[in-house]
Homo-oligomer: 145 residues x 2
DNA sequence: CTCCGTGCAAAGCATTTGCATCCAT
DNA sequence: ATGGATGCAAATGCTTTGCACGGAG
C-alpha cells in the first residue's frame, strides 16, 4: 500500500514532476534503448518523427528526469548521454566499441565493493559504478576489416 | 635491460613527444597532485605562477600527454580533468565529495574482473576502471550541517 | 635544416538562461 | 488559478582550429 518499488514501466507521473506531452515523448524515445542518447540525439529523433519540441526543453527535461531517478546519466566521449534505467540499484557495463549499456547483476558486485571498502577505506557508490570494456558482441578488435 | 617499466618519475622525453618548456611546466603542475585538473585549471595555475603559456597549448599538450600515457583522463562533472598516473596498470577510486583520486591495488580488482567476465561475457578494460564513491576522509555526509 | 609545438584570435558546439506564454494539476 | 513547463533566441563557456612564427632534435 505504499509507493515504494514502483513497477519499472511506470514512467510518469512522479511526485513533483508534471506529465507533459514532451516528457512522455522523451521517455518513449528512451525506453527500450540500450544505447544512451545525448540531448541532441533525443531532440533530433523526436523532431525527425514529427514531434514538436524545443531543444532547451529536451535539456531541461532530461535534467529533471535524471534528477528524479527515471534516467541515468553517462559520460560518452565527454558528452552527457541518458538512458532509461530500472529503479532498483544496479551497475552498468559500458561497451566502448558499440556503446551498448547492460546492467550488471548487483549481487556480483556488492560483495566485491564491500571487500574493496574494507581493504582501502574507500566507500564506493553502488549506483554510480560504470565499467568500461567490450561487450560479448564486440571482441577485442576495436576496428574490424 | 629493456625500456619496459620506466620509473614513475620520468616525465619526458618520450618517443615522438618533444620536450618543451610548456610541457614540462604542465607535467610539473600535475605531478604530485591527487586531484585531477582541467585544462582551464592548469592554465590558470601556470599563468598565476608567472608562466607564459597559451590556453590552446595547454589543451593540445594535455591531449598529447594523455595520448602517450603520461596522463589519465577523468570526467569530473562533465569536464575533462587530467592526472599524472603511474605507467603500470591500475584502477582509480574517485571521491565525489572532495575530488581526490587514489589508486586501487590491482590484484584486488583483477580477480573480480575475471569473475565478472566469466559471468556476463563482458570484458572490462582494466585501465579504465573509475570507481565513484567517498574517500576515507569524506564520510557518508555529502553536505555537512 | 625540418617539423613539431606554440600563440593568438576566431570559430565551433554543447549546454544554459531570460522572458513571455502555455497548460497540467 | 497558479506555478511548473515550454519555446525561442541570445548568451555562456569549454574546446578546437587556422595560420604564421619559433625552437627542439
Amino acid at each position: 500500500m505504499t509507493e515504494t518499488t514502483p513497477p519499472a514501466d511506470t514512467p510518469l507521473p512522479v511526485i513533483g514532476v508534471r506529465t507533459t506531452r514532451q516528457r512522455q515523448a522523451i521517455l518513449a524515445a528512451l525506453t527500450g534503448r540500450n544505447h544512451p542518447m545525448t540531448a541532441q540525439a533525443v531532440h533530433a529523433a523526436l523532431t525527425g518523427t514529427g514531434h514538436r519540441i524545443g531543444l532547451s526543453t529536451v535539456y531541461r527535461a532530461l535534467h529533471r528526469l535524471a534528477e528524479v531517478g527515471l534516467l541515468h546519466v553517462f559520460d560518452v566521449g565527454g558528452e552527457r548521454a541518458y538512458r532509461r534505467c530500472p529503479d532498483t540499484p544496479h551497475q552498468h557495463l559500458l561497451c566502448d566499441d558499440c556503446g551498448l549499456v547492460t546492467e550488471c547483476p548487483p549481487q556480483l558486485v556488492e560483495a566485491w565493493l564491500r571487500e574493496l571498502r574494507e581493504a582501502t577505506g574507500f566507500t564506493p557508490h553502488p549506483d554510480r559504478i560504470d565499467l568500461h570494456g567490450h561487450c560479448a558482441a564486440c571482441p577485442a578488435t576495436p576496428r574490424s576489416p
